[in-house]
């Protein structure tokens, strides 16, 4: 039983502690993500969500704890090698290359040598999934609208054939109608069988799309559970869903 669970587990984060210089911001966080799941991390600004996700991508060194991905310990692996495990971060603020075209941005998503042979095949798949990106393919990324940029950023992550796609605040700063669009896109990618770990301040939508959720507060996991249960819990309702009893 335990063994089967292990095989099914894609990501396991144990006692993660992270710091910027001398300021510790994440204190002993545990996360588990099973294959095929959508898992959300919600919580206020400054709770350590982004820091945690950056550490998963290797952009921040781990002070303590372990990150096991797809059965391998990647805790101290440099960022540029993690994408080879098909662990992909779509960072907060999109972090696209503004002066490169949409197509160049997407193709760079397959930069890692093992991915290059299938780069154009995967590019076409993204164009099928998101035809809007194909229309804009020759345009400089900086000229896209916020929603299209988010689409491009997700597409870039998708180019690495992700086992786990980590999305950090995919809807931040977008108009409500675009937020809707982005979450539809996330559902579409999840339907393709990609496991998704999502951090968002927008708790309502993040929990709707997810099967399991974590609530992070002040650098710790304050609460976790099946997302329907989380949405029903008093604490989440009052603090994140704006429901007063």
């Amino acid at each position: 039983m335990g063994n089967r669970q292990d095989l099914n587990r894609l990501l396991e984060v144990a006692n993660l502690e992270l710091a910027y210089e001398t300021v510790q911001v994440v204190w002993g966080v545990n996360l588990k993500v099973s294959r095929g799941q959508v898992v959300s991390i919600i919580g206020p600004n400054g709770a350590g969500k982004t820091t945690t996700l950056k550490a998963l991508a290797g952009l921040i060194p781990v002070r303590k704890g372990r990150i096991i991905f797809d059965g391998q310990d990647v805790t101290s692996e440099p960022a540029h090698l993690r994408v080879r495990h098909h662990l992909c971060l779509v960072p907060e603020g999109r972090q696209l290359w503004a002066r490169m075209t949409v197509e160049e941005n997407l193709l760079m998503g397959a930069f890692s040598p093992p991915l290059r042979a299938k780069a154009h095949q995967n590019l076409n798949r993204i164009y099928e999934l998101f035809p809007q990106l194909k229309e804009r393919s020759k345009q400089a990324c900086g000229t896209l609208s916020g929603g299209e940029q988010q689409m491009c950023a997700i597409g870039r992550g998708f180019m690495a054939e992700p086992l786990l796609l980590i999305l950090d605040e995919p809807s931040l700063g977008l108009a409500p109608i675009l937020v809707e669009q982005v979450f539809q896109m996330i559902s579409r990618i999840a339907a393709e069988g990609v496991t998704i770990l999502l951090a968002a301040q927008n708790a309502n939508q993040a929990l709707q799309v997810a099967q399991y959720g974590y609530v992070m507060e002040a650098g710790r996991v304050a609460l976790e559970g099946v997302s329907d249960e989380l949405r029903a819990s008093d604490h989440v309702r009052r603090a994140y869903l704006g429901v007063s009893n």
Binding site: H80, P91, A110, F111
Partner: protein
């Protein structure tokens, strides 16, 4: 001034712009990828000049061939300098005092090495074609300038091709714009920076060789060109290769046409004035003009 004179000046400026651009792209690529202002660039320009000179003087190797040979030789020198010195500089998104001091120190070392080896006498590369003048209708210009221009344009064209058609080029452009995003997609920042530094030094060496075909030089050769390269990359917006070409053209035009109103000895002042003007009026360079609409939300 007659139309022919004007045309002659414009052509002279264009030909000058080519070599100016070639000597500046090396600094741009190093700054773009590593955010390091390579003050030692002038030292490598000087070494490139002597490299081509020595090949010609000792082995009668044509200076143009010397310039081509300078690319691989200085590329490996660049890799070595990166391995010995540059990689020890803490990485930063801003030019740091540490990097400025280190590279300034390196320049001084290279310069004095030059004095040690070659003394302080001026040298020049004189080939049979040095004084050959091409005459096309009413327009005349030294053939060597055209050759240097062609070589400069070809090398920049080659670089552009690499930057736009290869994975390495994609990595370089990605790191110039957003290095964290580069790491996420699998770019090895240190390795790319090392190669980019090598390419930057390769261009410095080759550009030094091209300059040596036009001007006489001594071990402090390079200083005035370093200033010009500064002006060009500031005008160009520091990280844009198209900007470098335009910056080079602006400086070359300004310098060339200044002879109509200023004594030639005032020419270095043109570069200084342009630098000040650029910093006040166009702090983001000419590239800033077209990047404004490319801002990310």
């Amino acid at each position: 001034m007659s139309a022919v004179d004007l045309l002659n000046l414009v052509i002279a400026a264009l030909l000058l712009a080519g070599v100016y651009a070639a000597m500046s792209v090396g600094m741009t690529i190093v700054y773009g990828v590593m955010k390091i202002v390579n003050l030692a660039h002038a030292g490598f320009l000087m070494l490139g000049a002597y490299f081509v000179y020595e090949l010609y003087a000792r082995f009668s190797i044509d200076p143009l061939v010397g310039v081509v040979l300078a690319f691989p030789v200085f590329f490996f020198i660049g890799l070595a300098v990166h391995w010995i010195l540059i990689r020890r500089i803490p990485s930063s998104d801003q030019p740091t005092l540490t990097s400025l001091l280190l590279l300034f120190g390196l320049w001084l070392v290279l310069q004095n090495l030059g004095y040690l080896i070659w003394g302080n006498a001026d040298r020049a590369i004189l080939t049979p074609r040095t004084l050959y003048v091409l005459q096309i209708g009413p327009i005349s210009f030294p053939a060597v300038r055209l050759i240097v221009f062609g070589a400069a344009v070809a090398s920049i064209g080659g670089l552009e091709l690499v930057l736009h058609k290869t994975w390495f080029g994609g990595a370089v452009r990605a790191l110039m714009q957003n290095s964290d995003a580069g790491r996420i997609v699998g770019v090895n920042v240190e390795k790319t920076a090392r190669i980019a530094f090598g390419v930057g030094i390769a261009f410095a060496g080759a550009a030094g060789g091209l300059l040596a075909m036009l001007y006489s030089f001594s071990p402090d050769f390079g200083g005035s060109f370093l200033l010009r390269a500064f002006v060009i990359i500031v005008l160009g917006g520091l990280e844009s290769f198209a900007g470098v070409a335009i910056g080079a053209l602006i400086l070359a035009l300004a310098e060339t046409f200044s002879i109509l109103v200023l004594p030639a000895s005032y020419q270095p002042a043109i570069a200084f004035s342009l630098l000040v003007l650029a910093l006040v009026v166009l702090p983001e360079g000419v590239a800033g003009l077209w990047n404004k609409r490319h801002r990310l939300a």
